[in-house]
Subunit: 161 residues, 2 copies
DNA sequence: TATTTAGGTCAGCCATATTGACTTAATTAT
DNA sequence: ATAATTAAGTCAATATGGCTGACCTAAATA
């Protein structure tokens, strides 16, 4: 089975090459989150706050339930982070048409923070991608997309519909 | 400045497209770590244990200091995780030539766990990459590498020398 | 009218990280 | 030979971001 696997696996997909990708994913993700983390620290927020702000900013009038299904955390985990964001007026809650639900939007303050944080990551990515061809970038996105679970793919498609 | 930026930015690098990449990085990294996390949970370990096992397995006779510089965490953080791994005989310590240092290697038990965890990720990546061309994969790796900080690049180069 | 759903809340727990202070033993520099 | 630096370890306190379980309210739906 191992031998068969080796026979069927192209050289550029051997274990060593794949392990390099594992390492690059680790390093790149860590370095990618470092910038916003530093900014967040100054205002006593963490990465979890950024994620909430990010997705609320992306998708106006998100409900709590939808947000939870994107983040895949429990409502108790979200609660602490979200109530801080609401108390400090980064996020505004309103009642939905279904009056059991609540809709989330960013306040102006929230939009400003969102922009400040995401701009760091956007600039970083743009600076990297400028060195590559449109085809490379297209391939990169397609591979990343394929790395995502079916369930998360649905979420991604949903918020980019 | 914003206008100038827009003029100079190719369409496929506009903010919307880059935000998609931000989201794909979030979803893919989360889904990528999910498999090992589940296995680790059963033996009361966490992701931090996997990282230590991974890099010790990669680079035999790593010292504590070198490991810390790869992981970029404090020795106090490493301490808890590492002492568990040593106590439970996944990792074996020995004194280095410089007798202040310690060398880390995986025991057989450690190698087995390393393999079990990494195989999940290796298979996942291989299954994804099989759908792509060698060129796409080469581009993917190069872009990921460019996403990494200079300092981390050095670490990556070091462990893959 | 009964059940389900969306959201909230309290309490306790765990994992992973941090800072700061201090120790020991070995190596290196003066 | 002594002083300074380095590698590693340890203790204590703190923060963040998760989790489970139990329980509540109000609104929508069956």
């Amino acid at each position: 089975m191992a031998d068969l696997n080796k026979l069927l696996t192209p050289l550029f997909l051997n274990e060593g090459e794949i392990r390099k990708i594992i390492e690059l994913l680790f390093f790149s993700y860590r370095d990618f989150t470092e910038g916003p983390d530093k900014v967040l620290e100054k205002i006593n927020f963490g990465r979890a706050h950024h994620r909430v702000i990010y997705f609320v900013g992306k998708q106006n009038n998100l409900t709590i339930k939808e947000l939870l299904s994107i983040l895949k955390i429990t409502k108790q985990s979200l609660s602490r982070v979200l109530s801080q964001l609401v108390n400090e007026k980064y996020i505004i809650l309103s009642v939905g048409e279904d009056k059991r639900t609540k809709k989330l939007i960013l306040s102006k303050k929230g939009q400003e923070l969102e922009k400040r944080l995401s701009e760091i990551q956007i600039k970083k990515i743009r600076n990297v991608l400028l060195k590559f061809s449109e085809m490379d970038i297209y391939g990169f996105k397609k591979i990343l997309y394929e790395m995502v679970d079916d369930e998360s793919k649905e979420k991604f498609d949903e918020i980019n519909r």
